[in-house]
Every structure is written in structure tokens, then in C-alpha cells.
Amino acid sequence: MTFNDRIFGVLMIVLAVAYGWAATQFPEPFGGAEAVGPDTFPKLLAIVLALSSLYLIVRPDPDNAWPWSRTGIELIIAVGVLLLYAMLLQPLGFIISTTLAVGTLCWRMGAPPVNAYITGAVSGVVVYFLFSFALDLALPLGLLSFLEVN
């Protein structure tokens, strides 16, 4: 099967065309037109990318299998955990969000849940104290901010 490279090649040609077209829309720089304006380099890139993508479509490599089914779901879970981690880092605070994120990742990668969340909690606390005391950098405390001592 050689779908991957072909589809990727088509997508990249679309990108190259869109990117090159956008370059033609740049306003002229303040000092007037120059030999190499803001659009020259992007246009070159668009041409090179379009040509090399065309090659990928014509002579694609054999496919690597994509992880469908369960592994695919695990991957989506992992990405979801990472996004939630980023989202909750400030509201929940570093220690709690790290416990949840690292714990869930360890668990989904095959660790027993209890060990997983203990790993998460310990790593969160250790890194928090390392950052606040040894490196003097403030990580958000969030829900635990009542513990804060000044």
C-alpha cells in the first residue's frame, strides 16, 4: 500500500499553493520594493515543496501501518491528557495537575493504577519543591494555594 505518501504529497501541494499564494498577498514593505522582498523566499520554498511533494506522489514509499482500534484510542487519550494537563496547570496548580496527568499516562502505559498515581504525586511534589526552593522559580499552586507560606 502506498497511500500515506500520496495523501501526504497531495496535502503538501495544497499547503505549498496556499503558502505561495499568501506570499503574493503581502503588502509592499515600507521602504519600497527590493530585489528580495518578504515574498521572495516563501515563493521559492513553495516551489521546492510543490516539486518534491509531486515526487512523493509519483514514487511513494510503502506505508507504515497506522494504529487503528485500541492503540489508536490510547494515543488519543494520551494527547487528550496532555491538552488537559496544559489547560488545568494554572487552575488546579502544578502538583495536583501533575499527579493526574503523570498518573494517568503511567496507568495507560500499563502501570498498576495505585503505583501510577503515586509516581505522579511524588514526581509532582519533588519537581515543585526543586523549582521553588532550589531554582527559585514559581510554579502555580492552584487549589493548594492555601498552603502557601511567605
Binding site: 503581502f26 503588502p27 522582498g37 521572495t40 523566499f41 512523493l56
Partner: protein, 507 residues
Amino acid sequence: METLGYLMDGFGVALQPHNLMFALLGAFLGTLIGALPGLGPANGVAILIPLAFSLGLAPETALIMLTSVYAGAMYGGRISSILLNIPGDEPAMMTCLDGYPMAQKGKASEALAISAVASFVGSLIATIGLILLAPLLANFALTFGPAEYFALFLLAFATLGGITGKNPIKTVVAACIGLMIATVGIDNTGVPRYTFGVLELFEGVDFIIAIVGLFAISELLFFIEERAGGGKEKMQVNRLSLSWKDIRDILPTSFRGGVLGFVAGVLPGAGASLGSFISYTLEKRVLGKKGYFGQGDPRGVAAPEAGNNAASSGALVPMLTLGVPGSGTTAVLLALLISLNITPGPLMFTQNADIVWGVIAALLIGNFLLLVLNIPLVGIFVKLLSVPPMYLLPIVTMVAFVGIYSISNTIFDLYFMVAFGVGGYVLRKLEIPLVPVILGLLLGPEMEKNLRHAMDISDGDWMILWDSGLAIGLWVFAALGLILPYIVGPILRRRMKAPTEGTPESD
């Protein structure tokens, strides 16, 4: 003898107590990074960059620490090759051939010690080579004009895949993607490009975020997919019994391996994998029937180890003198230089002499530290090797999060990093190499600037790009870099594959 004076100044910088301390820390972390599964050298150095920033280290200290990490990672790669027959990174592949049989014969600690000595000899030779060659090359590079630099950047991209690379066109695609990302933001003339009105994009994409995302996050996803979280069997290490004679026996081998490795490291397109491969094959030829390669010959451990360590030090030559890295890890070190506001290239040798020579001196000191660290502490590294990735990788990911967050304290950067991670995973699945993407991100602005300067000089005549003999030479080599893999690539790859089966994905 000017060089010697600079080197002495360099030692003055590197021997300051806090620099020495960070060199030691770097060497230790580096060995760990090299030894642990799923943490290649490029990946490890990338994760440590934001931390070096948040520590607020002086530029030379940050560089010294991360060069020690780099050197240490090359040492560490051999531990899992020897004990588990699983190379930590691609250059360590050849070490498996004789290292693992030695371990099976109950000579694991001898194999580890021999490889440490060979690594030391290889690095030492290459560092001396670096000291001799770098100033010469830097002087020569002063004659480069913008057109030559533009051609040189192309050469760097063209040879990045190496002559053993699989599909050079994929390198080109990857480089284009990187360069395109680099054009996001306000350009030199003040025109915002591809920002879509998003405020965070006006300053461009921070390449550190991109690097950490591409390496660290995509690695996590790969491990999840391969369900490799369980880790490996534990390996027992015997008590070390090594005589002087054993060490003396491998010295000529290490010496030859070191010289070959250095040459492979300096040349564009060769790299550490080829360095260790050439050293091993040559050694096999030289010794002929006298060796028992493949069945646990100590010289079969020494040759590739000396080769790959020498190559990784050799790879610093083009990075420091020309500002053009030839491998993933040196690209990451270049990222560090750029973010410290140091312009790599020939001028660095005059303008930032203390930093350059401090780093070179640190490399020498780091080598001694690594040798001292590696022989007695090997037991600790072996213990850490048995930490299963299912605990390790989430923690590494967390450290990456903290590092990126601590640079700017914005959540936007974290989303960006995750997006790069997913993108990196998809690209790796398609066998599009990630290193050219990163190099594109790093070199993009410089490349455009040089193109612009060249055009300004010639008043818009594109012929200037191949107007000088030097520029033509660079273009020819760049073209060869793309064409040769189609011709000699399959042959070389088959030779390298023949003795080892199933090598893990690496940069």
C-alpha cells in the same frame, strides 16, 4: 601557538568551580540520558535547554553543561547495547555486535570498562582534532560571502540525511516544512507573514518549543503505540577484573577508530553511525583471522565506541566554525547558541573566544570526568536502566512541560508544544525525518538574510549565487548529497544491516 593561548584561557573558564560542577552534572545526566530507553541525545539535550534557561545560567556555563550532556549521552548509549543488545541510539548499533556476546559470556563489566576507555580515547583524539582544525576552518570561513553561505546552508540540508539516508526527497520536504515555519512572524522589512492576526505568532515560532514537542512528545506517543512500557529484563553485572594488558590491547584499535570517526564526524553527510560502522569494518579487515569478531572480541567493542564518540566530537567542528550542524544533536546545541544570542560561525572564534574555547576545554575535562564516572558508577546506571519506560516517559514529558512553561509562563506555548508533538508523530510515521525540520527552523532566518544580502550586492542578479568557484563547489556537493544516496545508499545500508537485525528508530 595562538591556539594554545586561547585554550589556556578556555581552561581558565572551564575550571571555575561552578562551571566544573555543571560539567559534572551534565556528564552524569548525559550518561543517564544515553542509557535510558526512549531518550536519545538530541531529545535529552532538547529537554534540558529550557531548564538551563530557567536556571539563569551564564552562556558559557549553559553551553558547558549541555556539551557535557552531549558527550555523556554518547558514553551512555553503549550501556544498553552491551547489556541488553538494544542500542540506545543508532551509532551504538555496532557496539551490540561484540558487546552483547561479551556480556553473555559473563564479561559484562569488562565490556563496559573497555568501551568506556575506547570512548575516552576516541573523544580525546577528536577533541584534539577539533582544537587543531576548528581555527583553520574558521579562518577559511571568513572568506565566505552571503552567496557562499546560502549555498552552504543548502549543502547542510542536502547532506543531513547522510549518504545512508533512505529517501532524500523526504529530507527536502522536511527542510521545506521547517523553513516555512521559520518564516512565520514579522520579517526583517517589518511585514508580518503568516501570522493570521494571532498575537502570539508575531514574534515567530520559538524553536525550543518546536524541538521539545517534536522530540519528547512524539517519543511518548511512539512508546504508547508500541506498547513498550513494560521495560526489559534485568541484567546482572559481574565484578570487574581488568588488567593493564587488556587495556593496552585495545589501544591501537581505539586509536584507529578515533581517527576514522573524527573524519566521519567532520565530513557533511557521514555522521556518527557511519563513523562507528567504518571503524568496526576496518578493524575487522586489519585484524583478519587474529580477531574473533561477532563472538565477543573486546576490540569489536572498542572500535565502534571510539568511532562514534570521535564522530560526535568531530560533528562539533562544522557546527562551531560554520554555524551549520550536521546531526540532530548538534542542531539542538545550535538552537541553544542562537537562543543565547551567540551567532555561531567564524566570527564566534574572535568575538566569543572565551565561550568557544571554554566549551572546547570543557569537552576535554568532561572526557576525564566521564571516564572517572563511568567505571565506578556503572552499577548505578545499570540499575536506572531497569526503570520501566511506563514510569519514565510520563515523568520526562512532565519535565518537558515544566521547562517550556518556565520560559514564558504561558499556556499557549504548551498547546503549541503538544501540537508539534502530534505533528512529529505523524511525520515519523511517514518516515519524514525530523532533524531537517528543526534545522530549517534554526537556519531559516539566516538563510533568507544571506539571500537578501547577496541580491543586494548583485542588484537583483540571481547569477551571484553561483558566481564564485567556492559557491559552485558547494552547490555541486549539495547536489551530490541528494543524488548519492540513490546510488550508494542501498549498498551501504545493506552492509550495515547485514550484521545487525532490527535497529530502533533514531535520528
